[in-house]
């Protein structure tokens, strides 16, 4: 699916990286544990997380993850969004929970990593 599909499925709001909504994403990974994210080898992953701080963006940068979905209306700070922009990361926020977001995206075909 494209990031545009992701936004539509989770009733999301794009906070930065609007230019890349046509990008395809095949895998989803939901976690608040950054060390867990750092074990992933694939690149085209949507990171679904409730952890809204600099390290979430940094971890995405280190793992070559180019899209993050923040659940439960977590609002990243300006510093976080600047960091995301600098690394070409698209940031989306949704009012839905991690469970609901993951369930909806999975049912529409986003693949699990494991």
């Amino acid at each position: 699916m494209t990031l545009r599909d992701v936004v539509q499925i989770v009733d999301g709001t794009v906070l930065c990286g609007e230019d890349n909504l046509g990008r395809e994403v095949h895998l989803g990974f939901a976690s608040d544990l950054m060390s867990d994210v750092l074990t992933l080898l694939a690149d085209d992953i949507l990171l679904i997380t409730g952890l809204s701080n600099n390290q979430a963006i940094r971890t995405a940068e280190m793992s070559d993850i180019l899209q993050i979905l923040f659940v439960r209306n977590k609002r990243p700070t300006k510093t976080m969004l600047d960091l995301a922009k600098e690394h070409g990361i698209t940031v989306i926020t949704t009012p839905y929970s991690m469970f609901r977001s993951s369930g909806l995206l999975f049912s529409k075909g986003l693949q699990p990593v494991y």
Partner: protein, 143 residues
């Protein structure tokens, strides 16, 4: 080439800056993405550990055509039982570290997984010195 950086203890808002800078250097030197990823994942975990668990330290990187050598040294307080600390899931992380998304006790295990050679010199009340070596000779990974 040789580069060196300082890392401040407890400075969570800047944790990862060194890893980010080194990532930029490795990409500029045209290292393959597979190598860049494993080097940077190991380095980032080590950098976060210096911020989270130590009194601060330095990171030194030596990039050669065949290998990358990274030395992460801090000024203490050291790891009393290294075997235990290497165990996945074991952690002394504070609430503050957990709020950063770390503290699951997976960092040292991640470092070991991503390095070709790893030497850790530490002990109670001692500095911790982590020497990570990455071989670049494996051609397939340059893809």
């Amino acid at each position: 080439m040789h580069v060196s950086f300082q890392v401040q203890a407890g400075d969570f808002s800047n944790a990862g800056k060194v890893s980010s800078t080194v990532k930029g250097i490795l990409k500029q030197l045209n290292l393959g993405p597979v190598h860049v990823k494993r080097i940077i994942v190991a380095l980032y975990e080590a950098e976060v550990n210096v911020v989270a668990h130590s009194y601060g330290g330095t990171i030194t990187c030596e990039v050669e055509p065949e290998s990358v050598d990274i030395l992460v040294c801090d000024t203490g307080p050291g790891i009393p039982d290294l075997d235990l600390a290497m165990t996945e899931g074991w952690s002394t992380a504070t609430t503050e570290v957990r709020e950063m998304g770390f503290g699951a006790g997976m960092g040292l295990a991640n470092i070991r997984k991503n390095t070709d050679r790893l030497a850790i010199d530490t002990g109670e009340g001692k500095p911790t010195k982590i020497h990570m070596c990455f071989d670049l000779a494996n051609g397939a990974a340059h893809a």
